[in-house]
C-alpha cells in the first residue's frame, strides 16, 4: 500500500494533485462530472477586488502541445465569490480550498486577501503576482524582487494562513524572486504561471488573440517548469508547488523529484475534463512501478 499523502504548509493533503487556478472555475462545473473530494485540493479562479470581464475575445489559440489564453482574470469580484461561489462550493467540496488572489495594486491584494483569508473554507492563499494577461498590474509585481517582496509583506499583515506566492516564468532570475518572497514572509512558492507567447492568423495576417499576447500552457512547457522548480527548490527552504504542463501521474513524480511538495494541474483539465481524477487514480500504480512507497519521500530527490 503506497502513501500519497503530502503536507503543504501544515495542512495534510490526501494526494499532491491540485487543479490550477483558471482551469477549474470555482469547482462546481467539475463537481457535476466527478466527486472533487478526491483532489488534494484545488486553486480557485483568480479573484480580484472588483468584478472583471477580462479581455476581449478571441482569448484562446491552439499551439503545439498546448494553448495560449488571454482570459485576463474574468471573475465576479471578491464579494460575490464569498457570497455566491463559496457557498455553492461548500455543497460539493469538504476540504480546505486554495484561494487565488490577483490585484493591480498592493491595496487590492491586501483587501482581497484579507476577505478571503477570513473564510473558513480557505486553507491557503495563493497570491498571483504573475498574470501575463492584465495590463498595469499583476505580472509587474512578479518580475521585480523588491515589488514582489512588497506585496508579500503587505498581505502577510492580513493573515496567519499559509501564503503561497505564484511566480511568473517570464523573468531572468526566478530564484532571486522566490528568495525575496521567502524573506518577506511567504510560506510557499508556486510556479510556473504561463509563458508569454503569441500566434498570428495566416488568413487575417494579424494576431489571433484580441489581446495580441497570451500565456502558453500545456505539456510543451513541462521542461521549463521542471527547470524552474528545480532552481527555486535550491534557493528557498519553504515548500514549492510545481506546475506547468503536468498531465500524467509520471509528470507528478518528475515534478516532485525536481522539488515540488505538491503539484498543480492546469491545461490538462481543459482538454481532458477527468484529467486530475485520472492522475490521482494512476498514482499508486505508477508509484509501485518506480518503487516509491511514500510520495513525501521523493520531494527534491533529483538534487
Amino acid at each position: 500500500m503506497v502513501d500519497t499523502k503530502v503536507t503543504l504548509c501544515g495542512i495534510t493533503l490526501d494526494n499532491p494533485v491540485i487543479p490550477a487556478s483558471g482551469t477549474f472555475g470555482y469547482g462546481y462545473e467539475f463537481a457535476e462530472l466527478y466527486d472533487i473530494n478526491c483532489l488534494g485540493t484545488f486553486s480557485f479562479k483568480g479573484t480580484t477586488r472588483e468584478p472583471r470581464f477580462g479581455n476581449e475575445t478571441p482569448r484562446i489559440a491552439e499551439c503545439p502541445s498546448g494553448m495560449l489564453n488571454s482570459v485576463g482574470l474574468q471573475n465576479p469580484g471578491v464579494e460575490k465569490v464569498i457570497s455566491e461561489e463559496l457557498p455553492k462550493l461548500a455543497k460539493v467540496f469538504n476540504k480546505p480550498v486554495m484561494a487565488n488572489v490577483s490585484g493591480f495594486s498592493i491595496d487590492d491584494y491586501v483587501y482581497t486577501t484579507e476577505l478571503l483569508a477570513a473564510q473558513d473554507q480557505v486553507g491557503w492563499l495563493e497570491i498571483n503576482i504573475s498574470c501575463p494577461n492584465v495590463h498595469g498590474g499583476g505580472m509587474s509585481f512578479g518580475t521585480d524582487p523588491c515589488m514582489a517582496a512588497d506585496v508579500v509583506k503587505a498581505v502577510r499583515m492580513t493573515t496567519d494562513k499559509p501564503l503561497i506566492i505564484k511566480l511568473s516564468p517570464n523573468v531572468t532570475d526566478i530564484a532571486g524572486i522566490a528568495k525575496a518572497c521567502e524573506e518577506a514572509g511567504a510560506d510557499g512558492i508556486s510556479l510556473i504561471n504561463t509563458l508569454m507567447g503569441m500566434r498570428i492568423s495566416l488568413r487575417s495576417r494579424k494576431p489571433i488573440l484580441a489581446n495580441t499576447t497570451g500565456g502558453y500552457s500545456g505539456p510543451a512547457v513541462l521542461p521549463v517548469s521542471l527547470r524552474m522548480v528545480y532552481q527555486v527548490y535550491d534557493a528557498v527552504s519553504i515548500p514549492v508547488v510545481g506546475m506547468g504542463g503536468i498531465s500524467t501521474a509520471e509528470d507528478v513524480l518528475e515534478m516532485m523529484m525536481a522539488g515540488a511538495t505538491a503539484v498543480e494541474v492546469g491545461a490538462a483539465n481543459l482538454t481532458e475534463p477527468f484529467a486530475s481524477k485520472k492522475i490521482i487514480e494512476d498514482l499508486p500504480r505508477v508509484m509501485e512501478k518506480y518503487g516509491i512507497t511514500s510520495l513525501a519521500d521523493i520531494v527534491g530527490q533529483a538534487h
Binding site: 483558471g22 470581464f53 491552439e62 499551439c63 494553448m67 500545456g218 482538454t271 475534463p273
Partner: protein, 277 residues
C-alpha cells in the same frame, strides 16, 4: 437548460463530402447527453491539443428511438489543419468525444410559424431544430444562405422534412441573389409581412419566432432586420474560439444584457433580448 456533459468513445460510421469543403460525419455511441438542437460536441484529434467543437446536425438517441447505441451527425467545414485531417478519417475509426455541450435552442417558444435562418457552415444545427419543430406540428419556414450554388448543401433535406425552403446565394447562382436578409424580405412580402419597420401599425403575425446560426456579419444583419425592424424575437447561435468547451476556462465569454456569458456553457444560443448589438 441544465446540461450534463458526457465523455465517450464514438465510432465513425460515415464521413462523406457534401461539397468540396463541407463534410458530414456520423458517429455511433452513447448520445444520451444530447438533449437539444443547437448543442455541440467536442472531438479529440490526435496531435492537436484542443478539441474541435462542432454543432450537432442530427441525433438518434439510444433508447427512445431504438438500438443500444445512438448516432450523432455533425457537418463540418474544412477550416484548418484539424478539420483537414478529419476528412481522411475512415468509418470504423474511434474518437474521444464530449457530448451534451451547450444550452441549445429552446423549441417551446417556436409558436405556430417558426422561421429558421442559416448561413453556410451555420446551417447544420438548424436541421435537428427543423425536424423537431415539424414533429411538434408547426409550419416551418427555412432560409438558407450560401456564397454560391457550388457550396449548397442540405436544401433537399430540409424540403424532405416538409419545410418551406428559400435559398439565397451571394452571387445569384441559385435562388434569390443576395443574403439571407434579402430572402427574408422576399419571403415576408410573400407572406404579407411588412419588414420595413416604417409602419408602426403593421402587425407582424406570420412568423412567431426565429432560430438562426451563421457567420457573425449574417447574425448582425438578421438581428437588425428580423428582430429590430420586423420585431420578431428569436434565438441566435454564436461561435467563438473555445478552450475547454464546458465552462471551465472562461475563454469564450461575451457580454450580454444578462451579464457575462460563456458561449460554450451558457450559450451557444442567446435570445435576441439579451444580445447587446
Amino acid at each position: 437548460m441544465v446540461t450534463q456533459m458526457k465523455q465517450g468513445v464514438f465510432t465513425i460510421t460515415e464521413n462523406t463530402a457534401l461539397t468540396p469543403t463541407t463534410y458530414r460525419m456520423r458517429l455511433e455511441g452513447d448520445t444520451g447527453a444530447v438533449t437539444a438542437p443547437g448543442q455541440f460536441i467536442d472531438i479529440k484529434l490526435d496531435g492537436h491539443f484542443l478539441r474541435r467543437p462542432i454543432s450537432v446536425n442530427d441525433v438518434i438517441l439510444p433508447s427512445s428511438e431504438g438500438g443500444c447505441d445512438g448516432t450523432v451527425t455533425v457537418i463540418y467545414k474544412v477550416l484548418g489543419a484539424g478539420t483537414e485531417e478529419m476528412t481522411e478519417f475512415a468509418p470504423g475509426k474511434k474518437l474521444d468525444v464530449l457530448t451534451g455541450l451547450g444550452n441549445g435552442y429552446d423549441l417551446s417558444d417556436a409558436g405556430d410559424h417558426p422561421l429558421l435562418i442559416g448561413g453556410g457552415v451555420g446551417i447544420p444545427p438548424l436541421y435537428l431544430a427543423a425536424r423537431r419543430l415539424i414533429g411538434q406540428g408547426t409550419d416551418v419556414s427555412v432560409i438558407l444562405g450560401f456564397n454560391s450554388s457550388e457550396e449548397m448543401y442540405y436544401v433537399d433535406e430540409f424540403e424532405k422534412l416538409g419545410c418551406r425552403v428559400t435559398v439565397a446565394t451571394a452571387d445569384g447562382s441559385a435562388g434569390i441573389k443576395g443574403f439571407v436578409t434579402d430572402a427574408f424580405r422576399a419571403l415576408a412580402a410573400e407572406c404579407g409581412v411588412s419588414c420595413t419597420g416604417s409602419d408602426p401599425d403593421t402587425e407582424y403575425t406570420r412568423f412567431t419566432h426565429f432560430y438562426t446560426c451563421g457567420p457573425e456579419p449574417m447574425l448582425k444583419a438578421v438581428f437588425r432586420e428580423v428582430y429590430k425592424e420586423a420585431g420578431i424575437k428569436g434565438q441566435m447561435s454564436f461561435e467563438e474560439r473555445m478552450g475547454c468547451g464546458f465552462g471551465a476556462c472562461m475563454g469564450c465569454s461575451i457580454k450580454t444584457a444578462g451579464g457575462y456569458k460563456r458561449i460554450c456553457k451558457d450559450g451557444p444560443v442567446l435570445r435576441t433580448e439579451e444580445i447587446l448589438w
